[in-house]
Amino acid sequence: MIWVNAVIQGLLLGGLFALFACGLSLLFGVLGIINLAHGDLAVLGAYVAVALLPSVHTNVLWALLFVPPLFAVFGYVSQRTVMGRSMRSGPLTTLLVTFGLSVVIQNALLEGFSADSHSFTLGALTTRSLHPASDISLSWLRMGILVVAVLVLVVVQLFLSRTGIGRQIRALADDDEAAAITGVNTRHVAAIAAAVAFATVALAGLAFGTYAQFSPTSGSNLLIFAFEAVIIGGLGSLWGTLAGGCVLGLAQTIGAQIDPTFGVLAGHLVFLAVLAVRPNGLMPATVEA
């Protein structure tokens, strides 16, 4: 039963990882940006909630209403300015710019909030859970996060495949010059993709804040997990990202069940194994570029 519980916790954790990885996957898939500030953006999202919540409401669920939209605007603006500009001078520049953004965010947070860690309190919801059997615990909160993750992936997938803007984003991902000659306003569309990516990362940051304590430097670890989930799942495939998140979550919790110190390492080892055996990931995008 302990093992069944480990599997369940792993899948629940996978939801969080998938939520994290969604934005990373989107930015890389559409704009070719490897966003080294991704983890720090998530943490920034959590801190924005910490800073603004007291004046709105104490329950972190309220942050869901204003942090993701705020980040969507932030994403749009940074793509139109810093990131878009750097893209025109090559992939190395974007890498450096996002690295710079990461450093700036970390230090600004240290300056503003000190190095102390924070966490969100959700009142009774934090600890409430289902116990279908002894040794098995299903936290409502964690199930909620998994549901949100799946919902976000479904919505993003539908947005990309069914809407006009979504088709433009895919066109842009395929070939930006060809997109321009079919009349796509490439800068605007790129910025919309960035807005969606930033909104999902803010959501992920809030979810993370309910899972664990966070501090200004938590972002680097999150970035690695997000990368691993994306690569295990296969670049350019959102369903792959969900699968990748779950595989990583499973590896970590099962590893931790074997030995409490082995969890994170087990995740890295599974990641390396996938890279060695299936370098394109478990569910790579099917059509050749």
Binding site: Q168, R170, A171, D174, D175, T182, V184
Partner: protein, 252 residues
């Protein structure tokens, strides 16, 4: 034929370092005509399309559409005002179906909404003979279909001026004939066509006038047979005095 000019190039110059791709180039494209462009590799033909479509900025000079300057407009804006190009090597959105490829163009380039965009998409797919491939992911298409799709996507934008960059290149003779008939049909419904082509046979059978470029300059302009008969054109093309018509299937 009306002599009203749809597109006008006015002393357009462009250079990349020491390579001159346009050297004070001036000529006009008349409303409703099909104008062919020939010239050796490196004559600046594709760069010229880049400058007209907005992919490249001109160094000096002006490009006007119906008297309005295009040079400061973005590619997307030029597409909306009716200037649409195709690429020499087709560049479909490989992850999307033929239908979706054309739909993006109809919505963005053509500025159409909902069912109008779908109607336009279906019309254009029919016109370019892609109907049976409409739901095929475009990465799986063969060369002829990719070339058709390149034209279809341009047509979906509702062009006034269609810039064709070697749509007949790399195709077999019957395939070239298929594309030529598509281009004739497009021109017949009033779209002005500017067409770069190495397959001279295809050009001569279709265009009203011909322009010959070399090293970014205009060498000759006029009726196809007259232009190809000019000694300086023959000289540029073959380096000999041989007539262009004798080249089998077109020039390399």
């Amino acid at each position: 034929m009306t002599t009203e000019r749809l597109l006008e190039l006015d002393a357009v110059s462009k250079r990349f370092g020491r390579v001159v791709v346009a050297d004070g180039l001036s000529f006009g494209v008349r409303q409703g005509e099909t104008l062919g462009i020939v010239g050796p590799n490196g004559a600046g033909k594709t760069s010229l399309f880049g400058m007209i479509s907005g992919d490249l900025r001109v160094d000096t000079g002006d490009i006007r559409l119906s008297g309005t300057s295009l040079t400061s407009l973005s590619t997307a804006r030029r597409v909306r005002s009716g200037v649409v190009r195709t690429h020499q090597v087709p560049r479909p959105f490989t992850g999307m179906t033929v239908f979706e490829n054309v739909l993006v163009a109809a919505q963005q380039g053509g500025g159409l909404r909902a069912s109008h965009a779908v109607d336009r998409t279906l019309e254009v797919i029919e016109e370019t003979g892609l109907a049976e491939h409409a739901n095929v992911v475009s990465g799986r298409l063969g060369l002829l279909s990719r070339k058709r799709l390149e034209v279809a996507r341009a047509l979906a934008c509702g062009p006034r001026l269609l810039l064709l960059d070697e749509v007949a290149g790399g195709l077999t003779d019957p395939e070239v004939d298929t594309l030529v008939s598509i281009v004739r049909g497009v021109n017949a419904r009033g779209v002005t066509v500017l067409w770069i082509e190495h397959v001279v046979r295809a050009l001569v059978s279709t265009v009203d006038r011909l322009v010959c470029l070399a090293l970014g300059s205009l060498v000759a302009e006029g009726k196809p047979s007259e232009v190809l008969a000019r000694p300086e054109v023959k000289q540029i093309f073959l380096g000999t005095g041989a007539a262009v018509d004798e080249a089998p299937g077109g020039l390399p």
